[in-house]
Amino acid sequence: MIVIRPIEQKDLGDLLRMAQNAGSGLTTLPANEELLAAKIEASEASFSQRTDERHRFYMFALEDTEAGCIAGVCGLEAAVGLGDVWYNYRVSTTVNASSELGIHKQTPTLYLTNDMTGCSELCSLFLDADYRKGNNGRLLSKCRFLFLAQFAHLFSQKVFAEMRGYSDENGVSPFWESLGRKFFSLEFTRADYLTGVGQKSFIAELMPKYPIYLPFLSEEAQQTVGKTHDNTRPALAMLKSEGFNYNGLVDIFDAGPLVEAFVENIRAVRQSRLVTVEVGNAKPFDDTDRDPLLVSNTQYEDFRVTLFNKSSLVGKLLLINKEQAEQLQVNTGDQVRIVSLREPRLDAQKELGVKESSQTEFGVQEH
């Protein structure tokens, strides 16, 4: 059975192995045992309420209870940029016009901004290649929305995710080559790594502070602003289908897009509701079901999420079996929060231009 739970120190070995497989795109999951242990410790301190609310960092693990290992993780930051500084570029428009000469020229311009300061962040999503099938990817990513729905008071009104930016088949980011390299005098991967491990004062020291007129960058770099890495497109489509929007903010290193949503407007938050559990002889979950229910308990420290078939929901009751009750840590009469894993297909939505996310499976999404 696949279940989502808070990560624990015993998962360190599994986590390290995953980080080593992840490569350089994942700023927030560096392959460094000490740092990963620190992240787990930060998550444990958050779930056990030892950390101040605004500085909490939650890490969820996808556990295969039969295999006895974790096969994926995802993170949720209560608020970014309160301890250190959170940077983005805002893609803005500069207009220069002279009516006398009949000239009207628009110039895209990048402004260094700290506007995401204080917002909550989805981050660190990684799923083992072997598990990139069925509903695992969606379960792992969307489990956080139920946590957000249940504990909204612990988060900012706005939540965002940074999507990995474009790089070519050799891992070269044209944006970095055309801008960052000239100021940082180091490789993209190293800059990315330092940021991931929280050593960010070099950004304040080396980053150009004045606005950057985009035409000064190479053609190629200009075209990658706000463009996501090919591998990240399915994840981006998934977030968009949940109501996330690109609003002109990009990563300062690779210009990958930042997508944001007000928590109350996220589909899985808005449509989620509480129902009561009844433990009995319900059938186990059939993972071939492409349209299951995402179900979480309502506990903070022992938060759990797993999937159920829609047929398990009968009126306002969710029928589950003993093993499921154990994994979810609930008993008959307890409340659970449920939501459809995917947005219900409605004609109305097609009209509004919302598309179902791509069928491609995804394993890495956020920076």
Binding site: N96, I103, K105, F184, L194, F202, E205, P215
Partner: protein, 342 residues
């Protein structure tokens, strides 16, 4: 004999011919006849101290070659100007190249990053401008005489001028009159080629510059390699004049032309050799051709300002001048003259 004197309306055709055929860029001197004519009129008003131009005087000099055959018109072979106040009442635009150090102990990185800031800080300083000379006169003494006559003039009439003098030198261009600096910078915002921008800047008010110029500082490392290479470098066509001014005590400043990235030279009046070495003497009519060291000699009155080259004995308090020179300088008996070694 070469004489440098205030421009007059009768010089219009001659100046026009010069400007049209000039290989160097002359932003400050339009090739449109009516604008040229206005400019000459403004110069006349400046030399006659009219109230209307007080504080914004624009002096225009021409160099005439008396040895050329009389063709009915004046024999103008060079033109040069002095603006009392750069910008002439409007903002005077420059880039100022500053330097920021982006340094990180942690990474052992220490980058000196040049940045261009738009500035108007040279507005109101006295500016040498509009120098143009016939190609055949470029190699000899003529260019120096023409250029330095302006300095002599400034020295004699300091009350019109600021304590510092600037000169914008034409930047490096491509063979087809393009500018690598412009192509990498201004073109993105002005949406026109260099020639057009150059043309408009000569004939329009500065409003369009305020409207179209990028307002944020420019990081030099983001400009093209070609643009970076020409920043602050004088055009070959301007190099003789550039050299001459360096010898006069001018220094390159941190200011660049906003269009072509050409350098700006600056000097305090007190540091300019022509001003330092200028002194007054008396003259007398010479019986024969004067001998001695080469000097510039001028009529030091505002309305009759004239300057020629001559030879003289620097130890004598009285300078002998030929009749032709006395006439060219419009000197009366007992007039003082100002001289400076050439």
């Amino acid at each position: 004999m070469l004489v440098v004197r205030p421009a007059d309306h009768s010089d219009l055709a001659g100046i026009e011919k010069l400007v049209t055929s000039s290989e160097a860029r002359l932003t400050t001197l339009s090739n449109q006849r009516d604008l040229l004519s206005q400019r000459i009129e403004l110069s006349r008003q400046s030399f006659s101290c009219e109230k209307s131009v007080a504080g914004k005087e624009r002096f225009l000099f021409v160099m005439e070659d008396f040895s050329l055959a009389d063709n009915g018109d004046s024999n103008v072979v060079g033109v040069a100007g002095v603006d009392a106040c750069a910008g002439n009442g409007a903002p005077f635009y420059n880039y100022r190249k500053d330097e920021l150090i982006h340094s990180s102990h942690q990474l052992d990185v220490h980058n000196r990053v040049p940045v261009l800031y738009m500035t108007h800080e040279l507005t109101g300083k006295t500016q040498l401008c509009s120098l143009s000379i016939q190609r055949e006169y470029k190699q000899g003494n003529a260019l120096e005489l023409l250029s330095r006559t302006r300095l002599l003039f400034i020295g004699l009439f300091r009350e019109f001028f600021s304590r510092e003098v600037i000169v914008e030198i034409q930047g490096k261009h491509t063979e087809d009159d393009g500018s690598p600096f412009w192509d990498s910078l201004g073109r993105h915002f002005f949406d026109m080629d260099f020639k057009s921008a150059d043309y408009f800047s000569a004939i329009k008010t500065k409003t369009f510059i305020a409207e179209l110029m990028p307002s944020h500082p420019i990081y030099v490392p983001l400009l093209s390699a070609q643009a970076q290479a020409v920043m602050g470098k004088p055009n070959d066509a301007a190099s003789i004049g550039y050299q001459l001014l360096l010898r006069e005590g001018f220094r390159t400043s941190k200011h660049l032309d906003i269009f072509d990235g050409g350098p700006t030279l600056i000097a305090r009046l007190d540091d300019i050799h022509t001003l330092k070495n200028c002194h007054y003497k008396r003259f007398s009519q010479a019986e024969q051709r004067p001998k001695g060291s080469k000097f510039m000699v001028c009529n030091p009155t505002l309305s009759d300002f004239r300057c020629v080259l001559t030879s003289l004995d620097e130890h004598e308090q009285t300078v002998e001048l030929e009749a032709q020179q006395v006439e060219a300088l419009r000197l009366q008996e007992d007039d003082r003259i100002a001289v400076v070694p050439f």
